[in-house]
Every structure is written in structure tokens, then in C-alpha cells.
């Protein structure tokens, strides 16, 4: 589906367009797993010329006249969701549902009934904002979003406050974990890693991590998870989880994979064919497994992105077991500060997931590596000012 051509180009520098804008000189940015959904054409309304990137941090270069809390020279991490801070939803702290930050709200209303907040570099439906895989970026509502970093923590330790750490944490919070619970996490990519770490922070006694890539399973083990490789021929995930929990099932399940999931069985072929024929838009094999696997009355938390229409989702099982499902884009602004404090206190060093450090010129090639899971890639961080290695 879609087109997958990416290149690094010179474009004009961004300028202040609104009173609450800031221009940030990007010092570090990263490629997110959800950027692959764009790259692979699963999210509609991506167009030629769009600038990607929603995980970034940097130095404030210029601020609009209504921004009083930031000044040039401040070091900030910018949340990927853009929130105005004043609408009904922001006041309820459901920042990702902000009513006033998406200039193309009418597009999302057609697809979803109502529009969520604008996002950086994530399709025209989500606002059409230029992203942060760049040297400079314009940040709207800079009086509300960016988190000032006043300590001398290196960029790499705080960069992931822009998306994946809060996303993993909200996933664990949405999983409604009680002390002593067993939590199953599908996907040991960056969000899965932080969901595992956060599940332990929130009192889980045991976390079972599911993936197929040895390097990611190894990372999960390094932070205390038990792992299941679904590609092992004699392991069905459902059976493995039942065996590990005395047939009770995990108290909570977290789907940190989303719409491009893989599975080892015929489902994968089925979904590949149906998405190719445009008879469904997403490949929900993890969602199906997680609904089946969660215990009766348990909770399913979904940080993995879904975009459209899903086929053969066992909703009867969800109803029959009376499970709770919680999901959605991360309400970033709620989590950034408390999680920064955890990093400052040394409770976690999010940089442990980084496997590649690259320049902006190398990014188009690395999207392919990231998509194909080559070179044992676990997280790619870009220094937009580094010169290309000779």
C-alpha cells in the first residue's frame, strides 16, 4: 500500500505563524515505530512533500509574542501531540483529544466522527504539521506543550519523553495494574520496552513479553520480563500464557504492536491478502490474540496504533469475558513531568533501547532497516546537525 519514497531535502526554515508558536533548533530526534505506518502507507492523507518526525527535542530559537514561559536558549522536549490547554478536553487532561489544535479537523471528522489533536508530521488528517526530523521545527502552542529540561541530563536520556516513554507508561497505567498482577506485553519494540518497565513501576509482579526478534526479547529480559517467542513452532501464544498463569490468563494485556502486526500462523496470510485487496485497512492479529488471552474481567490496553477498519476481531470473546479495553493517543502533557522526575532520580535510563545513532542524510536508508528489522535495530536516534560520515 501507498508509496515509500523518502529523501532528505533542503527546505526553507520554519517561521512563527501564530502568537503561541516557537521555533526549535532540533538537537536530537528519533524514528518511531509509528513512522513506519506512514512509510508503509497505512495512514491516509500523507502527501508528497510532507516532513516526518514527531519525536524531537532541542533549543528554543524564537518565541511568538504570546509565549511567556519559554525564552530563546531554553532546552526543551516537545510532546508529539499538540494541545491548546484551554478547550474542554485539555481541561479534562485528555490532551490528545484537544479540540483546537488540528487545522484539518474536518478530515478526521469524516473518518472518525470527531477530530483528535494535531500531531507533528503525521498526515494531513492529523493536522498536516511539519515534523521534527529536521534541523528546525515550528512548535504551535509552545506555551502548553514543551517541557523545559533544566538539569544537565544528556539529550538521549530525555528525548524519549517526546513520545515513547509516556506512551509506554500510559499503556501500563491503562492496563489498570494491581500489585501482584501478571501483565502480558505484545511487542518488545520501544513502546513495549517502556510498557514493561512501567508495568513493574506500577506494581506488576510479573511481565510476560512476546516478540520474535531475539535482540528485542533480550532487551525485555534485561529489565526483568519473562519472554515468549511466538515464532517458536511449538508455542501458541495463548497456550504459553495459559501455561505460565496456571490457566488463569494474564490480568492485563498490552498490545504495543498495532496495525502492522505479524503472526506465525495463517492469520498473517489472511490479513495480508485482505489489506492488499483493501477489504480491511489494518492487520490486527495481536489484537485478536490479546482479546483471547486476557483473563476474565481483565484489562486490555492498546498503545499500538490502529487506523481504520479491522476484520475478524473476536468481540464476542471480549464481551463473554467482560474485559475492559483502554486505548488512544497518549495524553503526553500529563506524563512528561513525572517521568522526567523518575529519570532525574535515576529510576530509569530510557537510552538503553538505542541501537543506532545516525545523521539526517542516513535517515531514508534507515527507515528501510527499521521496517525490515535488519541490523538488530531497536531504536534509531538522529543528530540532525551531524555531518554524514565519510
Amino acid at each position: 500500500m501507498g508509496t515509500s519514497k523518502l529523501e532528505t531535502l533542503e527546505v526553507p526554515d520554519p517561521t512563527l505563524l501564530n502568537p503561541h508558536d516557537a521555533i526549535i533548533k532540533v538537537t536530537r530526534t528519533a524514528i518511531c515505530g509509528s513512522d513506519l505506518h506512514l512509510f508503509d502507507g497505512f495512514i491516509p492523507t500523507m502527501e508528497a512533500g510532507d516532513i516526518l518526525g514527531h519525536e524531537f527535542m532541542g533549543i528554543v530559537e524564537e518565541v511568538g509574542k504570546a509565549v511567556s514561559n519559554l525564552k530563546p536558549g531554553d532546552r526543551v522536549v516537545v510532546p508529539f501531540t499538540i494541545a491548546c490547554g484551554n478547550c474542554l478536553f485539555c481541561k479534562k487532561k485528555i490532551w490528545a483529544a484537544c479540540d483546537n489544535s488540528n487545522p484539518n479537523a474536518h478530515l478526521m471528522e469524516k473518518a472518525y466522527g470527531y477530530s483528535g489533536s494535531g500531531l507533528f508530521g503525521y498526515s494531513h488528517m492529523m493536522g498536516g504539521y511539519a515534523g521534527g526530523q529536521a534541523q528546525y521545527v515550528r512548535v504551535p502552542f509552545a506555551n502548553v506543550g514543551p517541557l523545559k529540561i533544566e538539569s544537565d541530563l544528556p539529550d538521549e536520556k530525555v528525548l524519549f519523553l517526546s513520545d515513547i516513554f509516556p506512551t509506554g507508561y500510559m499503556a501500563a497505567e491503562n492496563a489498570q495494574i494491581e500489585a501482584g498482577d501478571t501483565v502480558a506485553v505484545w511487542g518488545c519494540g520501544p513502546v513495549g520496552q517502556f510498557a514493561i518497565a512501567s508495568a513493574f513501576m506500577l506494581g506488576a509482579a510479573r511481565v510476560i513479553a512476546i516478540d520474535r526478534l531475539p535482540e528485542r526479547l533480550e532487551l525485555a529480559r534485561s529489565i526483568g520480563a519473562i519472554t515468549v517467542n511466538y515464532d517458536d513452532e511449538d508455542t501458541s501464544v495463548l497456550t504459553a500464557l495459559k501455561d505460565l498463569t496456571g490457566n488463569a490468563g494474564p490480568d492485563s494485556c498490552i498490545d504495543a504492536v498495532g496495525l502492522e502486526s505479524h503472526s506465525a500462523d495463517m492469520q498473517h496470510v489472511y490479513d495480508k491478502i485482505k489489506t492488499a485487496l483493501m477489504l480491511e485497512t489494518d492487520r490486527p492479529s495481536v489484537l485478536r490474540q490479546a482479546i483471547m488471552a486476557v483473563r476474565k474481567g481483565g484489562t486490555l490496553s492498546i498503545p499500538g496504533v490502529y487506523g481504520g477498519l479491522l476484520d475478524k476481531v473476536p468481540f464476542g470473546a471480549a464481551f463473554g469475558k467482560g474485559i475492559t479495553m483502554k486505548m488512544g493517543q497518549t495524553n503526553m502533557h500529563t506524563y512528561m513531568k513525572p517521568l522526567l522526575e523518575r529519570i532525574e532520580k535515576g529510576q530509569i535510563d530510557p537510552s538503553y533501547i538505542i541501537s543506532h545513532r545516525i545523521t539526517l542524510d542516513e535517515a531514508p536508508e534507515m527507515y528501510k532497516v527499521w521496517r525490515d528489522k535488519r541490523e538488530a535495530v531497536t531504536k534509531i536516534v538522529i543528530d540532525p546537525w551531524a555531518a554524514k560520515a565519510a
Binding site: 517561521t15 502527501e47 512533500g49 504570546a66 479540540d99 484539518n104 504539521y129 515550528r138
Partner: protein
């Protein structure tokens, strides 16, 4: 334009009643290009709300981008991204500014919060 208090102290509901007269063909064309009057009223109300709540109207016009090509450019237009939100609502008239050529004969379309009456 009607201003009413929302129940439970949840702000104000603004209703715009506006009549447009235009031919079916023009209406279809305007719809296709994202510029039909009904949508214009909806967008104006949305802009008014954003301005009232935050002091600005969200916008992306003027931000950098790579070459859009012919298709990308047409799509940007269809998404309504080429219609500039007015920087600030005109205090004298809260009515949306509609291009005179939209005000054509025949078919009447009433819009109330975007819904046909």
C-alpha cells in the same frame, strides 16, 4: 448568530443560521474542492471557537514542505489547506465571508451548526 449557554455550565453554544442560494452543479463542484458554503460555515465556527478559547486559529499555511507535485498540490487544495484562515475575526460582522460567486440562485441550503434543517 445565536449564543446560548450550554447546560451544566459547559460554555456557550453558538449557532449560525445562514442561507445560500446556488445551483446544484456549483454546489457539487464546491463540495469537491472543499469550499462548499456549508463547510465554510462549519470552519468559520470552528475558527471562531479556537480564537475565543486560545487567542489563535490553528494553521499550517506558510510552514516549509518539500515539493508537492501536481497531485500533492491538488490534494492540499482539496483538504482545504489553501483557504487561509483570517488572522482575526472581524469584530463588526461575525458572518463568514463567502465569495460572491457562491451566492447563486435556486436551491436554498440552511445551515445550523453544519446540519441541514
Amino acid at each position: 448568530v445565536i449564543f446560548e449557554a450550554a447546560p451544566g455550565g459547559r460554555g456557550t453554544i453558538v449557532t449560525v443560521l445562514q442561507e445560500f442560494r446556488m445551483g446544484k452543479l456549483a454546489s457539487a463542484w464546491e463540495t469537491l474542492t472543499g469550499r462548499n458554503p456549508k463547510q465554510a460555515v462549519v470552519e468559520n465556527l470552528r475558527h471562531f471557537k479556537a480564537f475565543a478559547e486560545t487567542g489563535e486559529i490553528p494553521r499550517t499555511q506558510g510552514q516549509p514542505h518539500g515539493p508537492r507535485g501536481v497531485v500533492g498540490s491538488m490534494k492540499a487544495s482539496a483538504y482545504g489547506e489553501k483557504i487561509r484562515p483570517r488572522p482575526r475575526p472581524n469584530a463588526k460582522s461575525a458572518r463568514p465571508r463567502i465569495k460572491p460567486e457562491c451566492l447563486r440562485r435556486n436551491k436554498a441550503l440552511h445551515t445550523r451548526n453544519g446540519d441541514e434543517l
